[in-house]
């Protein structure tokens, strides 16, 4: 329970919004997207560490995905489309 609340606070406090259609948390500024499953399966400090990860020269336009399993191409494209439109 405490963890659910602290994850909510962490995500919202770090500028992440929830996409109900894709069940992902995303931040348009950092171009990072976390699946709900990833958030469920990782502790708040691990999630925070991923949020802080530098982009390592990634072009700003590319979304970085934090999924439990790397998303296949068709899934990545569908999520990107949804986030860029939304």
């Amino acid at each position: 329970m405490i963890e659910l609340d602290s994850k909510s606070r962490l995500l919202e406090g770090s500028g992440y919004r929830y996409n109900f259609h894709r069940a992902v948390y995303f931040n348009p500024d950092t171009r990072k997207v976390f699946s709900a499953e990833f958030i469920d399966d990782h502790a708040p400090d691990e999630i925070a560490a991923r949020m802080e990860e530098p982009r390592n020269g990634d072009p700003g336009a590319v979304w970085r995905f934090y999924f439990n399993s790397p998303p296949p191409e068709s899934v990545r494209l569908a999520v990107e489309r949804a986030l860029d439109i939304g």
Partner: protein
């Protein structure tokens, strides 16, 4: 080459299976109601046992498969691997009971009838068991799996509203069940319902032993 979408292929599979799914649901419901007669005929006035069968509708079945994918999207490179027959709850029966002593009794009676079925409980956020759920095959079909669930009536009635709001929402709210805020709110409700049941059992125990 099959140019239909994954969803359309699954819809076709659904309607081919539907008569069999209905048969399974009817069979399981009848069997459970019959076996629970010993319990349902001896209920006290404040006690409840409710048996309800349901057949998963087509879009819920497709959505259910889709919801298992991160990003809520089918992987096109695995298009032919998705099958509705993988779902364990195309047909299901839910048994709701109150108070907790009746839940335990019902669970025990049904466990004896379906000893081979796989225990796959519904757990809350803290790992607590919210419902005893079992899946397996009944005599009506050897390919359509079915499940039955034994749960607190308070939790079950809450789930009826919660599930219709959370699992069958408008498309734009599809992932509502996975949001951390909704999970936290749901957890608080379930904790309160459990506290009510515990207190009810405690008071009932006191009243039973009180001289008139």
């Amino acid at each position: 080459m099959d140019e239909r979408t994954i969803e359309d292929r699954l819809r076709q599979e659904y309607f081919e299976l539907l008569p069999e799914i209905r048969k399974v649901a009817d069979h399981l419901e009848s069997q459970i109601k019959f076996r629970l007669l010993g319990t349902t005929r001896t209920l006290d006035r404040y006690e409840r046992v409710l048996v309800k069968a349901r057949v998963k509708d087509c879009e819920s079945a497709v959505e259910s498969l889709r919801r298992r994918q991160e990003g809520q999207e089918f992987d096109l490179s695995r298009a032919t691997e998705y099958r509705l027959l993988d779902l364990k709850d195309l047909a299901g029966v839910r048994v709701l009971a109150f108070p907790p002593a009746r839940i335990t009794e019902v669970d025990h009676v049904l466990r004896e009838i379906f000893p081979e079925w796989v225990f796959d409980p519904v757990r809350g956020h803290d790992g607590e068991i919210l419902a005893s759920k079992y899946w397996g095959f009944c005599e009506a079909s050897d390919r359509v799996k079915c499940e039955y669930q034994v749960a607190s009536m308070l939790v079950g009635l809450f789930w009826e509203i919660e599930h219709s709001a959370i699992y069958k929402p408008a498309p734009e709210l599809r992932g509502i069940a996975l949001s951390q805020g909704v999970k936290a709110a749901t957890h608080r409700v379930l904790q309160s319902l459990a506290a009510f049941e515990q207190e009810f059992e405690r008071i009932k125990e006191q009243a039973t032993h009180q001289p008139e």
